[in-house]
């Protein structure tokens, strides 16, 4: 088998994640989908690093993970405060620029 399939898989996962972001209303699930997309990217990077035979791809993936972690922390915090204020985690409820 050709390792290119990893890339195809990554693409597939990324697309699924993106679609999920678009069709789910629950902020948490949306977030999970974003994570999914990030992971897909990571997979791609790792595969690339294998392709080129150096570790830079892995480094990038590593950084991605860190950033993702930070992002999740902040994002979840936002979700929690949102939930506190309007007692729902639906992204559609936050359709106005005010509470």
């Amino acid at each position: 088998m050709n390792p290119v399939n990893y890339l195809y898989l990554a693409a597939l996962l990324f697309t699924i994640g993106a679609t999920g972001v678009l069709i789910r209303r629950n902020a948490i699930v949306v977030f999970m989908c974003i994570e999914l997309m990030l992971n897909a990217c990571n997979l791609a990077f790792v595969t690339f690093s294998r392709m080129h035979g150096n570790l830079d791809g892995q480094i990038i993936a590593f950084f991605t993970m860190v950033v993702a972690a930070a992002e999740v922390v902040v994002g979840l915090a936002i979700i929690v405060s949102l939930f506190r204020t309007r007692h729902s985690a639906s992204v559609d409820d936050a359709s106005l620029m005010k509470l």
């Binding site: 678009l22 209303r25 559609d92």
Partner: protein, 648 residues
């Protein structure tokens, strides 16, 4: 002496200004001020007349230049007055009859709380009319021309609370405006042709230009004359004009203003002499109106409208005469003057009758009034005899001359016109006798007068004035009213004979109008005989119809012609259907067009932008996810783009 000319106009103008601006504090003396000033003007006229008589024939034209009115490039209009025999005649007629009618109005309008204003308007009219006849150029004449139009508008609509009066006034002004349009176009033509519109140059150079232009000018002048003198096809306003107080009808719509058209034609004689086609048109208009008015006069039961019809037809005589050219000018003016006397007298008589019959105008509710108001009866009778052309009364002379002149035109035209004139004489005799009989003879139909039956549509707008049906108590009018009637009666008896004595009038007017003896195919005596025969026939028929058998108090349905004549030969209906209705539809549709089309384009554009932005706004719905979709779509497009770039 010339400087007096301006005073002729100034006096009544001053009166008008004082009375109209003065306000209520003048209510008690206003009418006397007006009368006084008109008499002043009359006296000045007499003085000037004496002065003129003193001069030799060729020096009988005075001019007075006041100031330059308009001067732009070659366009030059002066305020200059010209007093010659023709205008002198008019001045005397206007101021004389005018003053008498002022006097009469003092009594007639006694119980009207707006009498002061009435006299103000009368004075205004005198001023405008004098300006009309004294002007030295057509533009200044135009000022007077519209001025009298304004005065008659104000006076016809004097009882403005009556919608019919207001409507009649508006109608009169509008129809006159159509005529004025003709006059203004004529003036423009003159300016374009001669570079001026002053009487002197235009009339002296009339021959120098092309036939077509002259004909055009002539026809435009004729249109103007038709409007002012109530000639077919612009005659429809005169009948309604009877809505005004009777003195107004006597002064404006019988004696003076309506004859302005004749003045215009005679004054522009030089142009018409050079344009035979225009002349022919004038004669045709005159002849048609002559018959038209006479027929209408036969059918009316409203005494004033009957007289209005007769006015129309008499002016038809004058216009006919004026159209005959140098043969007829003098006689046109002569008939104008005599008509001024007797028609004014007749109207004043009618007014006196109405005065005594608490404003009843329907002759079918008169009858047997001769013993109640003898003076009115006598004066009215004399006027009657004069108008039907009873031998040796004024109408006899002037009308005969016109008939002769008509025959003298020669050719088939001559025969036709003469015949029409004769026929007109017969009809005149008929309807005037009818009026006479219905009013002063027969049994007294005004006792327990029945209410008008709704079956017969009363076309005379005076209908609602016969409000209460208290039985009238006919009585003679006060002196202040009868004296003018007497004077006018004397005039209508005498002036014809006086004028004709040694062709005075002819020689007086000849230098201005020019005169040529037409050779008539039939001898003078034949014409006279024929006229008298027609007269007798007319009177006889009338007697057979209204003298012998009693007059029904309610008008019988009558023949088709009668009914048509009652409705002014359907001319009003024609106007209503074609002009009024058509105009209403036109304006209404235009308003619609303006709102939907012209304005719609603008509003449409605006609405288009509004809708577009509204639709665009809907995309910004605030949902993070739909924004995400667009972002994602955008990303997809970017990928596609890069791929394409790679592929290319």
């Amino acid at each position: 002496m010339e400087n007096l000319i301006a005073l002729l106009i100034a006096a009544p103008l001053l009166g008008a200004a004082v009375l109209l601006v003065g306000g209520r504090r003048l209510d008690r003396v206003g009418h006397w001020i007006g009368t006084l000033l008109s008499f002043v003007s009359f006296v000045i006229g007499l003085a000037l007349f004496a002065d003129l008589l003193g001069k030799s024939t060729e020096h009988r034209t005075m001019t007075q230049h006041l100031w330059t009115w308009i001067s732009v490039g070659s366009f030059h209009a002066d305020v200059t007055f010209r007093l010659d025999q023709l205008s002198m005649t008019f001045v005397l007629l206007i101021t004389g009859v005018g003053s008498l009618i002022h006097l009469y109005s003092v009594g007639y309008m006694e119980h009207d709380e707006r009498r002061r204003r009435f006299f103000g308007y009368l004075n205004l009219f005198l001023a405008a009319m004098l300006l009309l006849v004294l002007a030295d150029n057509y533009l200044l004449l135009y000022v007077g021309w519209e001025g009298v139009g304004l005065a008659s508008y104000l006076l016809i609509g004097f009882w403005q609370h009556k919608p019919s009066a207001a409507t009649a006034a508006k109608k009169a002004f509008l129809v006159n405006r159509v005529g004025d349009m003709g006059l203004s176009i004529a003036i423009m033509l003159m300016f374009a042709t001669f570079g001026t519109f002053a009487f002197g140059p235009v009339l002296s150079h009339a021959g120098d230009t092309s036939q077509g232009k002259l004909t055009a000018i002539g026809l435009m002048l004729l249109l103007a004359a038709c409007g002012k003198s109530a000639q077919v096809p612009l005659q429809s306003w005169l009948g309604d004009a009877m809505e005004g107080p009777t003195p107004v009808s006597a002064l404006i719509h019988a004696a003076t203003m309506v004859t302005a058209g004749v003045y215009l034609i005679v004054r522009s004689g030089a142009i018409f002499n050079a344009a035979p086609d225009a002349q022919l048109a004038v004669t045709v208009v005159g002849a048609v109106t002559l018959l038209f008015g006479a027929i209408v006069g036969c059918a009316k039961d409203d005494i004033k409208k009957a007289l209005a019809g007769s006015t129309m037809s008499q002016i038809g005589y004058m216009v006919l005469a004026a159209g005959l050219g140098p043969i007829g000018y003098v006689f046109a003016i002569m008939h104008l003057v005599t008509h001024g006397f007797f028609k004014a007298g007749l109207f004043l008589g009618a007014g006196s009758v109405m005065h005594g019959m608490n404003d009843e105008v329907d002759m079918r509710r008169y009858g047997g009034l001769r013993k109640y108001m003898p003076i009115t009866f006598i004066t009215f009778g004399l006027g009657y005899l004069a108008i039907i052309g009873f031998p040796f009364l004024s109408g006899f002379y002037s009308k005969d001359k016109i008939i002769e002149a008509a025959f003298a035109k020669g050719g088939t035209e001559g025969w036709i016109l003469g015949g029409v004139a004769l026929l007109g004489a017969a009809i005149t005799a008929f309807y005037m006798t009818r009026v006479m009989l219905m009013t002063f003879f027969g049994e007294e139909r005004w006792r327990n007068a029945p209410t008008p039956s709704p079956a017969e549509p009363s076309v005379e707008p005076a209908a609602e004035t016969r409000g209460e049906h208290t039985e009238p108590h006919p009585h003679e009018s006060p002196k202040v009213m009868t004296i003018p009637m007497i004077v006018l009666a004397v005039g209508s008896v005498a002036c014809g004979f006086f004028f004709n004595l040694g062709d005075r009038f002819l020689h007086w007017l000849e230098p201005v109008t020019g005169h040529s003896e037409g050779h008539s195919p039939v001898s003078t005596w034949t014409v006279t005989g024929a006229t008298l025969v027609c007269l007798v026939i007319g009177v006889g028929i009338a007697w057979a119809q209204y003298g012998r058998k009693p007059v029904p108090a309610v008008a019988p349905r009558g023949s088709l012609l009668t009914r048509a004549a009652r409705r002014d030969l359907l001319q009003d209906d024609f106007n209503h259907v074609v002009l009024v209705r058509g105009g209403e539809h036109l304006t209404r549709s235009l308003v619609y067009v303006d709102h939907t089309l012209v304005d719609g384009v603008v509003n449409g554009t605006a609405a288009g932008f509004g809708g577009l932005s509204g639709r665009l706004r809907r995309i910004q719905n605030g949902f993070a996810r739909s924004y995400a979709v667009s972002m994602f779509g955008g990303a997809a497009l970017l990928v596609a783009a890069t791929l394409l770039m790679r592929a290319v």
